[in-house]
């Protein structure tokens, strides 16, 4: 097993290549700023990506389409509760996570009680969350408390605080998947639900916890993103639906489930940001940028599939 066979390597190589291409254009100037921006924005994609990865690991058909709505709802309610008052950051965090947990439980209830396919269950639920967010937001734009905004945009030891949060979560998820029994249960469930159940894995509990976890990850991202950008907006989560799925796949996790890849998610999150800034710095318009981003995603998926076929 050489390092070349590690599936997460490719997303990091791709991110490094995009980074080098940008620096090639600017002649090496602004490397620090670029890395800093990539870590900041990459962190949001990485956190939702980690959650989506856990769900996709559950096996074919498992995907959470309610991530954007959950992000928006959690951020809106948390900011509204905090009302910009100082010293309420932790209360706001608790509310955001509470909203996330409730959304996750609701999603799983639909999946389990109504036996809906997860795509439809999370899709239908997300429409309801979206309405709740619109209703509670009412066009207001409440600023986050100052201390929280400072934290979200601040840095520690040269790295953005949000990136530290993303890193800590990534390590936690990695330990859970690789070293804890619960993680093994998750992988076993994703590889073969029936076999896992017969082997005594509490599969429904595993699935319930996973759907709650992904919603809480989304809620946390919404909370941080709203604090980072100075307020919640109704469309703040929109791009994270495609993003969360894209980083999981580019990161080398199998879309069919049963295997997951934590470092790859971070590499892919950085790559997705760097690719957009690379196309920007080469002067591509919005149209060209989207076309190329899409083409790159598909090229990576095809490359990954042919690699899989060879081994």
């Amino acid at each position: 097993m050489t390092i070349l066979a590690k599936p997460w390597l490719w997303s990091w190589l791709a991110a490094a290549a995009a980074f080098a291409l940008i620096l090639g254009l600017t002649g090496g100037r602004g490397a620090g700023e670029l890395a800093y921006a990539a870590l900041s924005f990459g962190a949001f994609a990485a956190i939702v990506g980690l959650g989506q990865m856990l769900v996709i690991t559950l096996g074919p058909g498992n995907v959470d389409l309610s991530i954007p709505a959950t992000m928006t709802l959690a951020a809106t309610l948390a900011l509204k509760a905090m009302g910009g008052e100082p010293g309420t950051a932790f209360a706001g965090l608790a509310i955001a996570l509470g909203v996330g947990a409730a959304a996750g439980i609701a999603n799983y209830a639909l999946i389990f009680l109504l036996r809906l396919p997860p795509i439809i269950a999370t899709l239908a639920a997300s429409l309801v969350y979206q309405s709740l967010a619109i209703w509670s937001n009412r066009g207001l734009r409440i600023k986050p408390p100052e201390g929280l905004a400072d934290f979200a945009t601040g840095r520690f030891l040269g790295m953005p605080n949000v990136a530290w949060v993303g890193l800590a979560l990534a390590i936690a998820v990695w330990v859970l998947l690789e070293r804890a029994v619960a993680g093994r249960w998750l992988l076993a469930t994703g590889q073969n639900l029936r076999a896992a159940r017969l082997a005594g894995v509490p599969v429904e509990l595993v699935r319930a916890c996973t759907y709650v976890a992904v919603a809480m990850f989304a809620a946390l991202t919404g909370y941080l993103l709203a604090s980072f950008s100075g307020g919640a907006a109704l469309n703040m989560g929109a791009e994270y639906l495609l993003m969360s799925i894209a980083v999981v796949v580019i990161g080398g996790s199998s879309i069919a489930g049963g295997n997951s890849n934590v470092p790859g998610v971070w590499g892919a999150a950085l790559f997705m940001f760097l690719v957009v800034s690379m196309l920007n710095s080469y002067g591509a318009g919005a149209g060209a940028r989207n076309v190329l981003t899409g083409a790159i995603i598909i090229a990576i998926v095809i490359a990954a599939s042919t690699r899989r076929a060879r081994t």
């Binding site: 995907v63 389409l65 795509i119 899709l123 619109i134 149209g287 989207n290 190329l292 995603i297």
Partner: protein, 309 residues
């Protein structure tokens, strides 16, 4: 099989009828030629998009790029098809062919459709931005005329979905090739063993989806008279919901074209119904979700009873 098929269609029909009855009860004036036209006006493009999604779901895949694809088709219709009809037609044809190619590629490389269509949604969206960076364009006159034609007895908004349902029913349920296509969703390997080239069938299914996606874009432009690059983004989710509401299932090639059209009508009507109830527009999206959940709950009870007897 026939009974099962008939069972499958009952629930969507009942849900639409209940919703329609409730709407008429709230607003009796809607029960007219003009009222019906208003109620279902935007249902035609949604029904076409739902049929497109159904073609993909029929072969066990899912298309997350449909909304951007319909937007792109709308942009091409409002610009090229109006200014240079031959070129416009060629572009639309190329779009359909690229969908077919996509289907063949997904099959040949065994790619996950959800990811490929996700990537394609960026491509379609980018191309649409190329064509129309700002909202604009003009609907070709004949298209506008076609969408606003007033047939006798029932308005276009009612006649068109019936025609769509009938044509796709003949194509998918009655015809030989339709049966084979559904077979690909049911068991691709056995279709292969029976001597059918599955890669061509997948390309055909995707090509049909592209065709109906293009038609949805054209119908949309005919109604709205102009286009923009984000005009149909919500069609992705609406079309998936419509297929499922109409009794389709994600796996096994179990789809119903008439049901899908009815599902699309139900979703369109849900929005109008809520505005008749004087419910705040905030809740319109949520109510579509709630109706989706309600109908699926009903289906669960229905199918449990069916299994019990």
């Amino acid at each position: 099989m026939n009974i099962l098929l008939r069972h499958r269609i009952i629930l969507p029909v009942v849900s639409l009828a209940v919703l329609l009855a409730a709407t008429f009860y709230m607003q009796p004036r809607a029960m007219s030629y003009f009222g019906l036209n208003l109620l279902f006006n935007l249902a035609v493009p949604i029904a076409l998009a739902t049929i497109a999604q159904m073609m993909i779901i029929m072969v066990n895949d899912i298309d997350l790029s449909l909304g951007t694809f319909v937007s792109l088709a709308a942009c091409v219709t409002a610009t090229f098809l109006n200014d240079a009809p031959i070129l416009g037609l060629a572009i639309l044809l190329a779009l359909i062919l690229s969908y077919a190619l996509l289907g063949a590629m997904i099959h040949a490389f065994e790619l996950p459709a959800i990811v490929v269509t996700l990537g394609m949604s960026f491509v379609w969206g980018g191309l649409a931005l190329f064509i129309l960076p700002l909202p604009g364009g003009v609907s070709p006159g004949w298209l506008r005329a076609l969408m606003t034609v007033k047939p006798p007895f029932a308005p276009m908004a009612v006649v068109a979905p019936i025609i769509i349902a009938a044509v796709t029913h003949l194509l998918i349920v009655r015809s030989g090739i339709g049966t084979v296509l559904r077979g690909v969703g049911g068991n691709a390997r056995s279709v292969q063993r029976a001597g059918w080239p599955v890669i061509w069938l997948k390309a055909l299914a995707y090509g049909l989806a592209g065709l109906f996606g293009v038609l949805a874009g054209m119908a949309l432009v005919g109604l709205t008279t102009s286009a923009d690059a984000n005009i149909a983004l919500r069609y992705t989710l609406l079309s998936i919901a419509g297929v499922i509401l109409g009794g389709g299932e994600f796996t096994g090639g179990k789809v119903s074209p008439a049901g899908a059209v009815i599902g699309a009508l139900t979703l369109t009507l849900a929005a109008s119904f809520l505005s008749f109830m004087r419910l705040s527009p905030d809740w319109q999206i949520g109510a579509q979700g709630a109706i989706l959940i309600l109908v699926l709950t009903a289906r669960l009870i229905f199918s449990r009873k069916g299994a019990g007897t």
